[in-house]
Amino acid sequence: MERIRNEELERIARLAGLSLSDEEKELLFSDLSRIVPYMERIAELDLSLENEDDAAVNSISEETFLREDRAETSDISDKILAQAPLSKDGLFTVPRTVE
């Protein structure tokens, strides 16, 4: 397996919402260029007989487990708002979004 190219991992970091210091980059990129090829070895596994529809997710399905459509006002909305690092007049605040 080819080594993970730096620019690819830079792109992955952007996707991950992370900006890495040069030091971190060096360390993480070197780790990942060992880890990723190890992971990618599963590509060699012959799983062709397996039925794709059965792919592993939680496949418990109990109709009765669905929630009935009844509205209930949460009693923690104030507590949630109180945790906001920055808010005003009951609204959370972020730097301006570009539209």
Partner: protein, 484 residues
């Protein structure tokens, strides 16, 4: 060289449920900011989605109404991206196994050339899926920041994706009107575009007539009315064609429609945002939809507008135009069907609605889609006329009173003494009095001036203040004239 416009739609519909798709918070529109948030919809650590049963039922119902194949093992997927209106950092949507696929809708529309001829066309539905809505961003110009209200987060949405089957704005608007009407008939959504409960994004490309391959498409957002949709399609087609004709290339991008400027503006280039890292939502089990469940829901499906229209024409023998109007809104259809049932005469019911009731709506500036009137009133009024108990003129007054004040016809007629006098005994003295008061006219009649009978009848009617049953009154006059 001439060109054609190719349009596909992505329509988002807010479902009319009491609670949100994945939590019990109310879905009420216009609540105070962040009043309706909890650990689930605000994306707190440790919170898990809990699917609302009604959302699934509504989705299956809509899939069936759109003639979709219902997916037997449907599943949610996470669509991952960062944006401040998205608290979890992902939207819970459906990519790999949406609830409905391969549907179709037959639309009827009038052509561009203003001919009254109706055309029909089948629009294919690519898929139908469920997802949660995002929060609302509010720009604060004073501090130049953005504020967020997460109350809308988790309001249940259905996304309906069509194939690129539209060739004109007329077709698109006809489809949207029909879709909106259908969803309201199903009772799954209010479809209020102004409140954002129906949102249509337009994917549009142009190509020279005769060309097979599709051109590069743009996606247009922020279309707040059907008029905006039509305007935007026309604007965007012309914009794209001008570029193509000039030898340029269309950028694959998302554009925002500006209703005031009646123009669209680039929001973002598509390449940047293409990576959503979709994967199956591990917090929700697979939804196994049994054949029995599908059949149970199919049985609860109401007769859809297009089916009703056909039935009105074929079985009730209404004109196509009338049938079209009567099925264009759910309250109107309900009124018509109840009126026809009570009055026993669909044609009569239709006439009353098409003429008198529509006039009342117009005069009040009200909308045929959400008026309010007691369902039985018009039927009762028609019966009163039919039984000769009130005049047609009184009937119109009664209908107005029923609409404006919610008057009950029987009671209102009683209160305002609208009853027709059909009692011969009661009419006899009145006629006698008229004859006595008009000796000259009577004498001339006897002398052979036959048309004076009409004058005397008019005088008698005036004497009853118009409340006499005209045929009975005429009979009584005749008797009196002959007996002298």
């Amino acid at each position: 060289m001439d060109y054609e416009t190719i349009v596909g739609l992505e329509v988002h519909v807010e479902l009319r449920t009491e609670s949100k798709i994945f939590c019990s918070c109310p879905t009420t529109f216009g609540a105070p900011a962040n009043a309706h948030i909890c650990e689930v919809c605000a994306g707190l650590p440790g919170a898990l989605p809990r699917l609302n049963k009604k959302v699934l039922d509504y989705a299956v119902m809509t899939a069936l109404a759109l003639s979709c194949e219902v997916t037997k093992e449907s599943r949610f997927d996470r669509k991952n991206y960062f944006y401040p209106d998205l608290p979890k950092g992902y939207q819970i949507s459906q990519l790999y196994a949406p609830i409905g696929r391969n549907g179709k809708v037959e639309i009827e529309y009038s052509g561009k050339d203003d001919s009254s001829e109706q055309r029909t066309k089948t629009i294919r539905i690519h898929e139908l899926h469920m997802e949660d809505d995002a929060g609302k961003l509010i720009h604060d110009p004073l501090e130049n920041v953005t504020r967020i209200d997460f109350s809308r987060c988790g309001v249940p949405l259905l996304e309906i994706v069509t194939e690129p089957d539209f060739r004109s704005a007329e077709e698109v608007v006809a489809f949207l009107e029909q879709l909106r009407n259908m969803l309201k008939f199903l009772g799954v959504s209010d479809c209020k575009m102004q409140e954002g409960s129906l949102r249509a994004d337009v994917n549009l490309s142009v190509r020279p007539i005769g060309e097979e391959t599709l051109g590069t498409r743009t996606e247009m957002k922020n279309l707040a009315s059907f008029r905006a949709v039509a305007k935007a399609i026309e604007y965007e087609s012309e914009r794209q064609w001008a570029i193509v004709k000039g030898g340029g290339t269309i950028a694959r991008e998302t554009r925002r429609w500006d209703e005031e400027k009646e123009a669209s503006f680039s929001m973002r280039k598509k390449e940047d945002a293409a990576e959503y890292k979709y994967f199956p939502e591990p917090d929700l089990p697979v939804m196994r939809i049994s054949d029995e469940k599908i059949e149970t829901i199919r049985k609860t499906l109401p007769e859809l507008p297009i089916e009703k229209k056909k039935r009105y024409i074929e079985q009730l023998h209404l004109p196509a135009y009338d049938a079209g109007i009567l099925t264009s809104s759910k309250p109107l259809t309900v009124l018509f069907e109840r009126t026809a049932e009570l009055g026993g005469d669909p044609k009569e019911a239709s006439n009353w609605i098409m003429v008198e009731f529509m006039k009342i709506l117009n005069d009040h500036g009200d909308n045929a889609e959400d008026f309010e009137m007691r369902q039985d009133s018009l039927g009762e009024i028609i019966l009163l006329v039919k039984d000769g108990r009130i005049s047609r003129a009184s009937a119109k007054a009664l209908l107005l009173a029923a609409y404006e004040q919610g008057a009950i016809p029987e009671e209102f007629a009683q209160e305002h003494d609208l009853w027709l006098i059909s009692d011969k005994e009661a009419l006899h003295p009145i006629v006698e009095k008229v004859l006595q008061d008009n000796p000259k006219a009577l004498a001339e009649y006897r002398a052979g001036k036959v048309k004076n009978k009409q004058f005397l009848l008019g005088q008698a009617m005036r004497e009853t203040k118009g409340k006499a049953d005209p045929s009975i009154l005429a009979g009584v006059l005749q008797e009196c004239l002959e007996s002298e």
